[in-house]
Symmetry: C2
Subunit: 518 residues, 2 copies
């Protein structure tokens, strides 16, 4: 394998799965050339005039759509761990004796461990997309035929838009759809809120199949996916397990350490002056992030401060803020619980966003860089503020990138993390896998105090009178190593075999993930 050291000092391959790659050149350094992908021109004359595109079943749709060996098939992950359709899809492909599919999911979940047998028997050649859990482990041990390619949500849109990834067939699970292919995620027994992760697929794939367990008369309103981009519609009994598609309710952390981190972050947002009328923030659905949102909410109420917008992943806590008038809008990319789905359906100020609007780095700007503060997690952070979010210190690839890389462009990026987990330090000398370059990460908030990136002199200045414990990241590393009895054990890696690559938001290669020796 031909490797090159990129601008972040990481060795990356110049070719992956037969496709030439561009090594990472630094933040804002790569200038894309050329033009966007351009799907074939279609004609209404080849589609039913009455708008009814329903075909008998998935196999029929795949056949008419021209499924062949070696094609790229995409799916979205809005059904999360409740997704039954993707497994049925590959069962069907297997039955049709099709081989060597490149699977291009927006993410995969433990439920998709069902597909390991198809990775083994050659039905699926390799996965390009986030791999949460078992599929990541399978890949880590060097068992996948091709090389995994991990992209952020925005990077996935970019790759499709720019023609880096050509999708032959998009299969879109739709909690509600009409026979024309208009589809939405905000209604139906399998409601997941929205379908933004499938937007690029619907726009750029050669053929688009919408699969629904709730077929309604035309028009399906809203049409988060536009039927004008859809070739076939398939009706099925069930898309999956509603209880695993969205949580009944999301849970705030009860851990005293995590609560302390959340409190620190909220206080940081207040003391730094970020929290002011018309500000904006984004926090995920993890326990710490939820606790942060609750602490911040109290502070906002106390000072009568109102946000202009809050970014989702939405949960009932954000919905409460919207309904109590503490924010004018939720700009949402995915809904994590039932309250999120309800609000998305009912409230016009709970706005559907997509990886195009929010995260696509190859657009004329995107929303991510307009957010005042974003609170994220990480598996590892190093003393130069570089962060890892996909592998653990043992080298296993167990998480996807999600919108994480895209969010780093916010005006203030805060990683809210415990300083160690299971007696393994999270603050390290050098991250196992580089997913976020340190120059974009401003604050590390741990239970032992906050580390401010020395590049952010403005933040240090604004915190001069704050009672927050501000500590040096190198001191923190030492302290944590002392507690844990030393730095993390070196992972057992086969450096000769790259099992996956990490793309940066502009499509260049930021780092390599190596085989873990079992």
């Amino acid at each position: 394998m031909n490797l090159l050291k990129n601008a972040a000092g990481r060795l990356v391959p110049l070719e992956v799965n037969g496709k030439e790659q561009i090594p990472f050149k630094g933040i804002n350094k790569f200038k894309p050339t050329g033009n966007k992908a351009n799907p074939p021109i279609r004609s209404c004359k080849d589609y039913p005039a009455n708008g009814n595109k329903v075909v008998k079943d998935l196999q029929t749709a795949l056949k008419i759509a021209g499924l062949k060996d070696g094609m790229t098939i995409s799916t979205h992950h809005h059904l999360r761990n409740g997704d039954a359709l993707t497994n049925i899809l590959f069962d069907t492909i297997k039955k049709m004796r099709i081989k060597n599919i490149r699977w291009y999911p927006s993410a995969s979940f433990p439920v998709h461990s069902h597909l390991i047998k198809y990775l083994k028997d050659g039905t699926i050649h390799h996965i390009e997309g986030s791999m949460n859990g078992p599929l990541g482990e399978f890949t880590s041990y060097g068992k996948m035929k091709g090389v995994g390619v991990l992209r952020s949500h925005g990077g996935r849109y970019q790759a499709v838009q720019d023609g880096d990834v050509h999708i032959d067939l998009a299969v879109i699970a739709a909690p509600t759809a009409d026979s024309f292919g208009n589809a939405t995620g905000d209604q139906g027994k399998s409601a997941c809120g929205l379908l933004g992760f499938a937007l690029a697929d619907s726009e750029y794939a050669d053929r688009v199949i919408v699969v629904t367990d709730n077929l309604v008369p035309f028009p399906c309103v809203p049409w988060q996916i536009q039927g004008n981009n859809v070739d076939h519609v398939v009706q099925v009994e069930s898309l999956g397990d509603p209880a695993k598609i969205v949580s009944g309710t999301t849970q705030v952390t009860k851990s005293p350490d995590r609560l302390l981190i959340a409190e620190y972050v909220a206080k940081f947002v207040e003391d730094s002056g970020i929290m002011k009328d018309g500000f904006s923030f984004q926090a995920g659905a993890g326990g710490t992030a939820l606790a942060f949102a609750l602490f911040l909410k109290e502070k906002m109420k106390k000072k009568s401060i109102k946000a202009r917008f809050v970014r989702g992943g939405s949960t009932k806590y954000l919905v409460e803020m919207l309904e109590e008038g503490l924010t004018e809008y939720i700009l949402d990319g995915q809904t994590f619980d039932l309250e999120g789905v309800r609000s998305m359906h009912e409230n016009v100020n709970h706005v559907n966003t997509s990886p195009f609007t929010s995260y696509n780095f190859h657009g004329k700007g995107n929303f991510a860089s307009m957010v005042d503060a974003v609170v994220l997690g990480a598996t590892e952070v190093d003393v130069n503020f570089n962060a890892n979010v996909v592998t653990h210190s043992d080298g296993l690839l167990l998480h996807g990138i999600g919108g994480w890389q895209n969010c780093l462009f916010s005006k203030c990026t805060i990683l809210a993390i415990p300083s160690f987990r299971d007696r393994i330090p999270v603050i390290v000398e050098k991250v196992t896998t580089l997913v976020g370059p340190g120059e974009l990460i401003d604050v590390i908030a741990t239970e032992r105090g906050l580390c401010i990136n020395p590049r952010r002199k403005d933040l240090l200045k604004s915190l001069k009178n704050s009672s927050l414990p501000i500590i040096n990241i190198k001191d923190l590393k030492k302290e944590v190593n002392n507690i844990c009895g030393g730095k993390p054990a070196k992972p057992k890696l086969n450096k000769e075999k790259i099992v996956a690559i990490i793309k940066w938001v502009d499509g260049t290669v930021l780092d390599s993930v190596y085989q873990v020796i079992e």
Copy 2:
């Protein structure tokens, strides 16, 4: 000029404005090849991270955007005859000494007669777009340098999507926008309802400038135009005259003849069995169409029948139907009065549609063919049910095509027209300009009775027991000629000079418009 007789028997040029043309091949006969247009890939690194794309003024925006001689500049017509911006735009272009612009409006109105001086002095080379009134007259007399190209709303989207027309610069009037370029028409002092006619422009133009007289903090919700497609934002005092952008209220006809036509059409929709639960219809904002909607509404109420959807252009009459529960949705392409704007803003079941969803013939189907009945006008209809909507019998080009051609694909197309106007027969032997082929036109409804296209045996059958006066179109023509003292005078045309062409929905050339001798 190299001319060829097309499948409709009309002589059309094989080259127009230096671009090769394909003659009309028949309904559903032309198969497009190739791929959609693909704009250059952009990068967030070249746009302000804080999202603020506001520049000082329009001239600055045009300069930064790289305005040059010979470029194509597009505008939309949602501000109708109240539009001040387009005139200011060309005043600015003139001031910048730029020449030979191809102006690509979605339509032009009498207010744009201001631009005739720029057509004369070479600032504007020619217009591709509907020309209502003075600009059409100017063109008819052979005074425009290039050849006018008239397209339907759907045809305009198709031309941009397919790369037939490359827009260098789109200038989008936005009644409300944020500094990122998100824009909407449903709010602001110049509110026009929606901005769908500018959708293709925003998606495919090299550079997009949003001009607003109501700049709001990010996010502008809804974003009918997505800021991710926008390069620059310009703030101006006023986009135009609100009273001429939308009517205070739309007027139902008071003419007894027109009322009779409207009543006939409503009775036809009832007697033919089209009016049943879950049906759909489209009628414009003309006086007869409005009267039809009111008559139909009474019939629906009487029989407790509810429509699934009604297509706008919306008016207060359609809004009343929505609010009274007589239709579940309005699928709207433009709002004609203040009530339409209000409803669009307030009611989630009053849905924003675009020429892409509704009319683009080079998509995977569109909405137009799903509508049960559509009521349209015409300037002339001939005995083969061919219709004209752009020229009068004197040959003058005075109207645009609008969505008219696209609507012909509905399940039942009804032209509701007086049999003569100003003592000139509307029913003729052969239309002056062919805009709609007769095989798509099902019913001609006049004050003297209804003519059913003989191809529609099903309709004739369903009307067997109806008391409607069904007449033969040839008999009607004779009767009307008798009343008017003969057929219309032959227009004085210079057949050597084509001043405009009429595109079909698939981009082929349906007919030519000739110079009128003054």
